[in-house]
Symmetry: C2
Subunit: 252 residues, 2 copies
């Protein structure tokens, strides 16, 4: 008898930003796979009889790789267990969901996916940043500063056009490259931008900046991941003057 | 004594896709502004003592305009009421949030924004469509088929590049224009696409299609709004052959 996989979006941190369905599904599972991105109080929704299985990975501690998580998942499903796999934010955005879904599909196990509040939208709510705006911002882009392959990183300069708001995940280390890539393509350096650090947590912090000060402000205000970077390019900003990057940004 | 505005994302339909915070905040309000996009059972979270105020607008019935909603909101805040303004999905995405926030800011009233599960992510979860994928899809774009001004509609062809998944809101009527705009720029007609209708509701329906059949399949399967259109352009698809639109699509 095969088990069941429930991939659950847990939102950005605060346990009351889980959906009601997410909280219920956690309570129904008999094994809960969690990692360091999911807050401890989310685990309180689990049944007292459930096994809590930490499957965290971290670049720097030689932690588990995705292939190890996939193996553990396969084992639990073959053992007939109902696995709740907790994901920070929404499972379909930067959650490696495709790989874990593939494990369950290959076995023929039942799958349910519970959506969650993705970090960018939680940050937008917390800091009152509308990511679309009538007649000004018609598209919203979510992208990442990190990619599986250095050569295949997103073409950031191609994403930010007039009428678009972009949210960059995991991009603190790329601030200078994002800033220069965009400005080299003529995106105005005066565009309003925001760093939002520790979204959904009590120490959430907003650092207002502008495109030509991205890296400088990240350094001066010691912005750390997890942080979301917003850059808004309203249609009405298309005629603003292009301002070169300040010279002190060069030292980043 | 000024009132308080709580803008609340209610998710795509199912009441268990509200966050726990959203359900609580609805219960704390003394007046609840709702419209036809929010399901009736969401209103059950309201306090029995609260006033339920319908503020729906509909293009075709001469319903309320945004300016009327803004006036009602201003009146309630001046009367010292705690207003829960319910929004379908997430308030910051296509929710006209900026205008309602401006009303409260102008008065100096307290504002809280509660994020929600936006329709595209609920659809992605329901239909198992990862919108990002390691080494294949690094960016996710949300855009609309409708815009405030015909001349300022999003430049769809510029949004869909290799490595990007786009979700189009409110786009059934624009299917043929989206299809031709993208294919004219060389986007392969064989790209996988999906219509997802009535997300989060019991009659949710998925229609699998491809870029060169968007309009045809929308017509043949009678896809109706509210529907989300997904088009995925994985990096590995950049070398696929460009297939012209089928001749029968021409009759759309």
């Amino acid at each position: 008898m095969l088990g069941k996989l429930t991939l659950i979006g847990c939102g950005p941190g605060a346990s009351d930003l889980l959906t009601i369905r997410a909280a219920r599904r956690i309570g129904e599972a008999d094994i809960v796979f969690h990692d360091r991105l999911v807050e401890a109080d989310v685990l309180e929704f689990a049944s007292p009889a459930a096994t809590l299985q930490y499957v965290g990975k971290k670049c720097t501690d030689g932690g588990r790789q995705q292939t190890d998580i996939n193996s553990m998942l396969r084992g639990a499903l073959l053992a007939g267990r109902h696995v709740a796999r907790l994901k920070s934010g929404d499972p379909m955005i930067f959650g490696r969901a495709a790989e874990e879904i593939a494990v369950a599909v290959e076995l023929g196990a039942e799958i349910e996916i519970v959506p969650g509040v993705t970090a960018a939208l939680a940050a937008a709510a917390e800091c009152s940043i509308p990511v679309t705006e009538r007649a000004e911002l018609q598209s919203f882009v979510v992208t990442t500063g990190r990619s599986a392959n250095k050569d295949k990183e997103p073409d950031w300069a191609n994403l930010l056009k007039p009428g678009i708001c972009v949210a960059f995940y995991m991009s603190v280390a790329q601030a200078w490259r994002i800033q220069t890539a965009l400005m080299a393509r003529g995106v105005p350096g005066s565009l309003q931008a925001e760093w939002v650090e520790n979204v959904g947590k009590p120490d959430c912090r907003r650092v207002e900046t502008r495109l030509d000060r991205l890296a400088l402000d990240a350094r001066q205000h010691r912005v750390r991941n997890p942080a979301i970077l917003f850059i808004r390019y309203p249609l009405s900003a298309t005629n603003v003057e292009v301002i070169p990057a300040p010279a002190d940004g060069m030292t980043i």
